[in-house]
Symmetry: C2
Subunit: 329 residues, 2 copies
Amino acid sequence: MEIRQNKLTRQWIIFAPNRKKRPKDFRKEKTREELPEYDKDCPFCAGNEELLVHPFIIETPGINYNPWQTRVLPNKYPALEPDKSTFRSMEGIYIKMPGYGKHEIFIDHPKHNICIGLMKNEEVRAVIETYWMRYNELMKDVRNLMVIIFKNHGPEAGASLSHSHSQLISTGMVPSHLRVQAEEAQRYYDDNGRCVMCDIVGFESKYRERVIIENNSFISFIPYAAEVPFEIWIVPKRHEANFGDISEEERITFAEILREAMKKLYEKLNDPDFNYVIISAPRYKAGEPHLHWYLRIMPHLTTRAGFEIGSGIFINPSLPEEDASFLKD
Amino acid sequence: MEIRQNKLTRQWIIFAPNRKKRPKDFRKEKTREELPEYDKDCPFCAGNEELLVHPFIIETPGINYNPWQTRVLPNKYPALEPDKSTFRSMEGIYIKMPGYGKHEIFIDHPKHNICIGLMKNEEVRAVIETYWMRYNELMKDVRNLMVIIFKNHGPEAGASLSHSHSQLISTGMVPSHLRVQAEEAQRYYDDNGRCVMCDIVGFESKYRERVIIENNSFISFIPYAAEVPFEIWIVPKRHEANFGDISEEERITFAEILREAMKKLYEKLNDPDFNYVIISAPRYKAGEPHLHWYLRIMPHLTTRAGFEIGSGIFINPSLPEEDASFLKD
């Protein structure tokens, strides 16, 4: 057994391979292939527009004979409200603020049974372009300090609908969680004069034992101190703090590497439930030399229990090097 | 909707009652009452000692005609190993250490179908005495910087056996998670000259809308910025950083309030899956005026999804005041 420190957060992760299943034992039984291409009750399927309560915010033109490619609409059950302020106030000794924020849903594809790992490259590219457009659009509103784009895939990951979709939440505060990570990165920059994520990318791409895929502008690997089995990061090789700043060329190569990583998870683990999230700099930090955006994929293959909740230390039964080699094969 | 800040961690929690079920909709369907008093395949049942691979570390004498009351043994699948060092080393740019730690299992009761909420007061007291004895015993070993006692109850909370049991993990490092919390508490103490948890206890016991139960030495309430529906804290009223320092009188009243809180959860929500954990000061911090131990109960009624993982912000569909009043009724 070994304990490793996450270089971004100083979080410790215990690796306990004695509690391990073999990587292939993590395979799910169900598969997305059993789903129909069209489901008459699904509000996200093309043709079922009358099931939606809100009009679209945007719709991108269809490719590969699809009637449209992606759609963005307000969440029917939003966690936050767009017409509130971000003023803090006190309630006795506590601090609170109104529930300001925007909560949007992205329909990734018109067909019911297609997920990122099963899409064509140009279809994933439409998803990424949609993320990027909404990210930059929402960052125009100064109340939004953070724009968080994420995906819940499968019921264990919190998805209530099986039709592939993503979400965006913008907030009027910076999470303490990311503040701590930014402080760590600042400290690393003070000591080394370099961005910690740039150094991680340099190290991983040299030693390669945790690398899964790489292209001209992105690298995908299992992090050294992965919190859960098959956690995957996709990181731009060029230093950039802000997802909204990526170039057209990078949007193409990002879509390619995301599709490939999702395809590997889909095929090797048989469509596991997972979350992914784009972690990008908050407003006013977008130019920082020590922050570096990345996409973090977290499959749901183990249970977070009392020890994890209490200590913040995770127990991962799976070694990153072995998970990477299983996915690469 | 409203966003509240956790005063211990500065973490923001979004309260979105529009996404809410009514408190009683959180009730589970199954119930522990269907379990037998004895299960021939359960290694924790009295009489099945041959199913255990390790000898007991301790056993406490039976009360209420039980052959014994609690037992402690090494975990069959430990996450950590007792014969390792805590020396840090580098692996390229990363920091790691050997998997040192102790991992013990506590059998809470000889009967298969009894859980804390169904025990008699003196039986819960035996559980607490066992926690306290092992906590102090393990703190004698200077390698143990933290001793974390926790319980996983039910499969969604990570319990693989239904017989009521608790666990202890000791570690040779302080989790970054708790370090951040300690820094916040230190800052609060600098500004106010008082422990933040003492102030929380004072505020809650005055305004009472989140209080569930109270006795001479403990108070139990839903925290102002609860991460999940029906999160409950049990906090000693007297300032003490270290669980190991509680008096005999406090062990009795702690057992009473824990049993009552567990009974309420059991009855009102029909035996929900939950985790609880005792959060106590690390070694060398046990005398700090700004740290205050507490027990944190986290029922598993909602799913942690991509937004939570990425931002550390939780979305709680349930208001603490309403949850408290539902449990009190």
